[in-house]
């Protein structure tokens, strides 16, 4: 084999089987999708800046909310963490590459066409998907625009990509750990991704089943979800949320992993409870399969079912609490410094915990009758998705970027990015708790006058948060193109793990001979 560098030109990217190249492509792709989904969000917030219809018609507004959700979940957050996994898992477990490198190439390269198809629906007759990212039947079947078929095809391809990516991760972690790297020595990021990969393999086929049943209902005369034909619209929700709830943890578990890597580095102190973090992650993954109907408290499930799902959902607070306590005790009596990745992680712990509290409130079924489908829910899941997943992803980029490219980002710019994001985010989403509790439903293009003040704040906050992401893009590009070379090989004083033991910048091929882990 010998050491050889990347191929030249476009073929490097098209035909690459190198985990670092593929990781890079995933990360750039997800960032592009993040900006696209963010643009849709800006349209939404611009329309909601004031009551009345100013910018878009309700029909298009619904397409924006739908596409914002789909693009952010499937296009931005999930591929971002897959990109991170591609870059880091081999480097963290001392493997030369992913176990299935050709499949790795394929699982990335089917993503851009999937999102091209999804985005193209906006320009089709009848418009794009307008039934929410949860696409409840029969709104998404009998009453859907014709483009729904393209949407279904797009979801199938994304699912395929996710399943291939997760099989690859499982195969890599199970088979390619360096000698001495036992399971209970793996970095937590690897652990959380291993568990996430199992969740993905378990539930993506369920999503595929749901959209396939939709396809059959729309084109082949079946009635899975049509009551008139003997089917059941509620069945759709059960199938969707059996996928959808684990999906939430698919998004957040790798984020937990990232935070569990970064906080010890900047506290200069080992993670307080490694074992309990692993068990907590596994418990959350298990519970995620038996709580799906808490998204459906108002559909009229029987009392016994309602109680079961309420109790099971409340239980999730226990392992999640364990995680938060662990992060806090890791900081306790450490020797902390507050570089940008640490700021984003502290922001994560603070805001994710608030999102966790509102999650606990939502789990209480009788209270959920007041919260459900209101802006309170919108606030809740943006606290866990944005301040959770995206803050941790941002932290990850600032943390590992110097190792990847050998250049240091500008610390002042990074901190500015954090503070503007933090303020913008809270201004955007904290008032949404208030309007939700006061009775504003979600997914409406226009609202009663009582909600006007907080909505205006919310829009201003969203614009600030959105603009700060362009600044992030600028920061990253400036680092790669003209950043100062990293002074110390290890980058961070307190960093532990195999990925920090390789030269900086990370060579194209690493761990061609496996290291010995003691």
């Amino acid at each position: 084999m010998g050491a050889h560098g990347p191929a030249k030109g476009i073929s490097r990217w098209l035909f690459t089987t190198n985990h670092k190249d593929i990781g890079t492509m995933y990360l750039w792709f997800s960032f592009a999708m993040f900006l696209l989904g963010g643009f849709f969000a800006m349209v939404i917030r611009a329309e909601l800046f004031q009551p009345g219809l100013q910018i878009v018609e309700p029909e298009f507004f619904n397409q924006m909310t739908t596409m914002h959700g789909l693009v952010m979940v499937f296009g931005a957050i999930m591929p971002a963490f897959v990109g991170l996994a591609n870059w880091l898992i081999p480097m963290m477990i001392g493997a030369p590459d992913m176990a299935l490198p050709r499949m790795n190439n394929w699982s990335f390269w089917i993503l851009p066409p999937a999102f091209l198809i999804l985005t193209a629906t906006l320009f089709m007759e009848g418009g794009g998907p307008n039934f929410g990212w949860t696409f409840y039947a029969p709104l998404s079947t009998d009453y859907a625009p014709p483009s729904v078929t393209f949407f279904i095809f797009g979801v199938h391809i994304m699912g395929l990509s996710s399943i291939m990516g997760s099989i690859n991760i499982i195969a890599t972690v199970v088979n390619m750990r360096a000698p001495g790297m036992t399971y209970m020595k793996m970095p937590l990021f690897v652990w959380t991704w291993l568990i996430t990969a199992f969740l993905l393999v378990a539930v993506m086929p369920v999503l595929a089943g749901a959209v396939t049943m939709m396809l059959m209902d729309i084109h082949f005369g079946t009635s899975f979800f049509s009551a008139a034909g003997g089917g059941d619209p509620v069945l759709f929700q059960h199938v969707f949320w059996f996928f959808g709830h684990p999906e939430v943890y698919i998004i957040i578990l790798p984020a937990f992993g990232v935070v569990s890597q970064i906080i010890p580095t900047f506290a200069r102190k080992p993670l307080f409870g490694y074992d309990s973090m692993v068990y907590a992650t596994a418990s959350i993954a298990f519970l995620s399969f038996i709580v799906w109907a808490h998204h459906m408290y108002t559909v009229g499930i029987p009392l016994a079912g309602e109680l079961f799902f309420m109790y099971a959902t409340m239980l999730i607070a226990v392992p999640t609490g364990v995680k938060v306590f662990n992060w806090v005790t890791t900081m306790w009596r450490g020797s902390m410094t507050f570089e940008t990745p640490m700021l984003f992680c502290i922001g994560f712990v603070f805001l994710f915990t608030i999102g966790g509290f509102t999650g606990l409130m939502l789990s209480i079924a009788p209270n959920d009758f007041q919260y459900h489908d209101s802006y309170f829910v919108v606030a809740h899941f943006h606290y866990v998705m944005v301040a959770g997943a995206i803050f941790s992803m941002t932290a990850a980029v600032y943390y590992w970027l110097p190792k990847w490219c050998g250049k240091m980002y500008n610390e002042a710019a990074g901190k500015a990015h954090f503070w503007v994001s933090f303020i913008g985010f809270n201004l955007a989403f904290f008032p949404q708790h208030f309007v939700g509790l006061a009775g504003m439903p979600r997914r409406i293009p226009d609202y009663a006058l009582q909600f006007a003040d907080f909505n205006m704040w919310s829009s201003v906050g969203a614009f600030i948060y959105g603009a700060s992401q362009l600044f992030f893009l600028f920061n990253v590009i400036r680092t790669i193109v003209g950043g100062e070379p990293v002074k110390e090989e290890k980058v961070w004083e307190g960093a532990e793990g195999l990925e920090w033991s390789i030269p900086t910048p990370a060579p194209y091929h690493t761990f061609s001979t496996p290291p010995q882990v003691k």
Binding site: L303, M310, V318, P366, G439
Partner: protein
């Protein structure tokens, strides 16, 4: 100046102290400006839900205060810049058992009242009256199920004008939360709602009653309320149901028993009068006049006030409105499957169906000169 400062102070106070709204009785009825918390509403169940909400909220707040206090104490004192040396402690079985068991016990404290409240919400027995609520794209139908007389039913549409929505005129006080005909129920009476939908899934939500239940085609869900206070309570559809999801509000008018009885008698008389009209023969002008009113309310949103089209096809010079009468009636009564054109046969009475069809054939320059009588519509429906 002084007044302004006072108002500003009160506003700041109400923002900081969500509870300070409790004294305001209006708060219970509908959302207020700057409202930051759930309202206890006007039912016993609503008050219980509110109390439970506050219990869970304060538990979360205190846990949050404790956790964040520890975290920020650490952030501000255990800094390298202050010379803090990292201690290397980790893992403590005692601590880990404690922070697993204590949260679990706190959850049990929350679960007990949650369970009893949920059981109460699910108890729809012993209702004194039943109302069937049907969600349509994008309006609600209310049908009072009367055991000893005929059912009374009507549709409840948004009454906010397009001009208000498109910012042509000032928005009214109840912008988007007003309807042409509200649901009327008596106070202190247990009312059972049977909730279903005609097309897609909707959700019937009135915050002041603490009722939210999905309206699902093919299913009949049950819910109930017993309102303690006369008043007008407003809500909205809570489940995304298509284009005008944001434009199908709910207004519940809770009145004294006597007022309710009088209202019900009026509705019964109305439907008796309608029956008479069904048998009547109208002139073209009468039908066109009535038809215009029906058109503006039920058709204009999609087909345009002047029949120019929009979401729906143009009525002016349309092949259907200028074609055979039966084809036209078919489109109006049965809708056009696979399109947004709904079946109006069940939504409008035969008089209105006849009037609106006649109006469409004679308005907008169609000038067909023909008309259809209520009895013809009735026979058309029977003949299907």
């Amino acid at each position: 100046m002084h007044l302004g400062a006072k108002r500003l102070f009160r506003r700041a106070l109400s923002f900081l102290l969500p509870m300070s709204f409790l004294g305001s009785s209006a708060w219970a009825e509908e959302a207020q400006r700057w409202q930051t918390n759930m309202a206890p509403g006007v039912t016993d169940v609503g008050a219980k839900v509110y109390d439970l909400h506050m219990i869970v909220f304060w538990i979360c707040v205190w846990i949050g205060v404790a956790v964040f206090a520890v975290m920020f104490y650490s952030v501000f004192t255990h800094r390298k810049s202050l010379g803090a040396k990292a201690s290397q402690f980790h893992e403590s079985t005692k601590v880990e058992i404690a922070w697993t068991v204590v949260p679990f016990l706190i959850l049990i404290v929350m679960a007990v009242p949650a369970t009893s409240t949920l059981i109460e919400i699910y108890d729809t027995d012993d209702a004194e009256m039943d109302i069937l609520i049907t969600g349509y794209q994008w309006k609600w139908k209310y049908e009072y199920i009367n055991a000893d007389s005929e059912n009374v039913s009507f549709f409840s549409n948004l009454s906010t004008s397009k001009d208000e929505i498109y910012n042509q005129v000032d928005k009214g006080q109840h912008y988007l939360l007003e309807v042409d005909e509200p649901l009327v129920i008596p106070v202190n009476t247990k009312v059972r709602f049977l909730i279903t939908a005609n097309d897609v899934i909707h959700s019937w939500w009135v915050p002041a009653l603490a009722v939210k239940k999905d309206a699902i085609p093919g299913f009949v869900n049950e819910s109930w309320t017993k309102v303690n206070k006369v008043g007008v309570y407003r809500g909205q559809c809570a489940e995304l149901c298509g284009r005008d999801h944001g434009y199908m509000p709910i207004v519940v008018n809770v009145v004294e028993r006597e007022e309710y009885d009088a209202w019900m008698a009026g509705k019964a008389a109305e439907s008796a009068k309608l029956k008479e009209l069904m048998a009547q023969t109208f002139t073209l002008d009468e039908l066109v006049e009535r038809g215009k009113a029906v058109y503006d309310k039920s058709c204009a949103a999609c087909h345009g006030l002047n029949g120019e089209g929009g979401v729906g096809k143009a009525i002016a010079k349309s092949p259907i409105a200028t074609g055979a009468m039966n084809g036209h009636l078919d489109a109006v009564v049965n809708g056009v499957p696979g399109t947004a054109m709904q079946a109006f046969g069940g939504q409008l009475n035969d008089v209105d169906l006849a009037a609106v069809t006649t109006y469409q054939r004679n308005g907008f320059g169609n000038n067909m000169g023909d008309m259809v009588q209520p009895i013809d519509v009735y026979q058309f429906k029977q003949g299907q």
